[in-house]
């Protein structure tokens, strides 16, 4: 008799890869994480029980191992993995719940964000709300320099995140805050390809250490040049 559950984990992964991560329910995300902790079992039931036991997804990842082990199906090894993921997120998963004030500008936000980043990456933030970052996406800048730029992927991602007004911040890990040819290429990319979807690049910051250089404030305007 055919096992209807055969291939379930593969189907869940495909659903995750095809769709938006945010469309998955809390228990589905926990279920998928448990794929990596419990080799062969129905992790869907365990995920439901975890949420019921701890009240919320954040409750699950705040629980200590002894509490987690009280849930049916969670052994010591699994509880340690769940607790590890909780600690991982607390240490490295930055949230943006703070509101800006007049004193803390977007430039300071970028300066803080790139403080310990020693790679060339581009952080795009949505500026629909003047005093808080609503959403953001980080893209390595070599996407814009090596081979064909994946226009459809970038456009789709910004549309999925419902971005209209964006600011791009480009980290220069080598210490030079003056815009390079690559930086102007990135500005051109956003101005030419995304404006048709009502996605407007409001500014582009070049960040190097404590210095944040706004290319728009320094007289550059995409409308004029592209």
């Amino acid at each position: 008799m055919k096992n209807i559950h055969a291939g379930h984990r593969k189907r869940m992964r495909e659903k995750f890869l095809k769709g938006h991560a945010e469309s998955l329910c809390d228990h589905e995300l926990i279920e998928m994480l448990l794929f990596y902790c419990i080799p062969v079992a129905n992790t869907n039931n365990i995920a439901h029980e975890l949420i019921n036991s701890f009240g919320s997804i954040s409750g699950v990842f705040s629980a200590d191992t002894s509490e987690l082990m009280k849930v049916n199906g969670i052994n010591q090894k699994t509880s340690e993995k769940i607790a590890f993921v909780g600690e991982f997120m607390r240490k490295f998963g930055k949230s943006d719940n703070e509101m800006f004030t007049e004193n803390k500008s977007l430039k300071e936000y970028y300066s803080d964000y790139f403080r310990n980043v020693d790679s060339d990456v581009c952080l795009i933030v949505s500026t629909e709300q003047r005093y808080r970052i609503i959403d953001r996406i980080c893209i390595p800048t070599n996407i814009f320099t090596e081979g064909e730029i994946p226009v459809n992927l970038i456009a789709r991602k910004l549309l999925e995140k419902n971005m209209h007004h964006i600011v791009a911040g480009i980290n220069h890990s080598k210490g030079n805050y003056f815009p390079t040819y690559t930086d102007y290429n990135i500005v051109q990319f956003f101005s030419e390809n995304l404006s048709i979807f009502d996605i407007t690049l409001k500014d582009c910051f070049i960040c190097s250490g404590e210095v944040v250089y706004s290319i728009m404030e320094n007289g550059f305007s995409p409308d004029k040049y592209f």
Binding site: M32, I57, S58, F84, F88, K91, F92, N97, N142
Partner: protein, 213 residues
């Protein structure tokens, strides 16, 4: 454990050594730190980093769980008075470039059941706004009260004649569903206004247990 050790341990859920070490080094070399990796998407991972599909999914799942956990930190459970309502809506709406209207559905104990945010674009489609709010309210059989708010991108929270017109219509529409609209807050740049405070009492019925001042 340093950052690299943490990332390597996470990746080892899906990859064996030495691949876990290699992928960890390559990801950190491209992104700089774990926070940037969590803020990215697998479609932007450098093509020369070879990892199993399961590993890319793992990082994506942890990233999504992280966002949900962060979002839960700002969840409001109750809105029991005008001051709470103002703070809640200022948090949601202040600073938006476009005009948005938000509704919050409450039960009899002022516990938040649901909320909806829509664009306040077309001035003539008050029935469209009523419909969207009604759709949100009827999904909850315990819905008893509603709060409405919108922002003024100009910064001045004083209600316009259109705001008064919309409010009348929304209150009447929700009344048909036996849902009491407690107040309509307008969020400006530096302060917010409660229309209940400044309007005729006949628009908003007095609700027992709600702290108006």
């Amino acid at each position: 454990m340093d950052e690299k050790e943490f990332l390597k341990q996470l990746i080892s859920f899906s990859e064996k050594e030495p691949d876990a070490e290699r992928i960890c080094s390559e990801m950190l070399s491209n992104y700089g730190n774990i926070n940037s990796i969590l803020d990215s998407d697998r479609i932007f991972y450098p093509r020369d980093i070879h990892m199993r599909e399961q590993t890319a999914v793992l990082i994506g799942v942890v990233s999504a769980i992280n966002r949900k956990c962060n979002a839960e930190k700002t969840v409001t459970k109750y809105i029991k008075g005008t001051d709470y309502a103002k703070k809640y809506f200022e948090n949601c709406l202040r600073g938006y470039i476009q005009e948005l209207i938000k509704t919050v559905v409450l039960d009899k104990n002022f516990c938040v059941l649901d909320s909806k945010l829509i664009s306040y674009g077309d001035r003539n489609s008050v029935s469209s706004v009523c419909r969207q709010f009604a759709d949100t309210a009827v999904m909850h059989k315990d819905a008893k009260y509603m709060l409405i708010a919108h922002n003024h991108p100009s910064g001045n929270p004083e209600p316009s004649s259109n705001d008064m017109f919309y409010t009348h219509k929304l209150v009447k529409a929700m009344g048909i569903l036996d849902i009491t609209v407690i107040d309509h807050i307008i969020v400006g740049k530096d302060k917010s206004i409660s229309m209940k405070d400044i309007c005729d009492e006949n628009i908003f019925p007095q609700v027992k247990g709600y702290a108006y001042k």
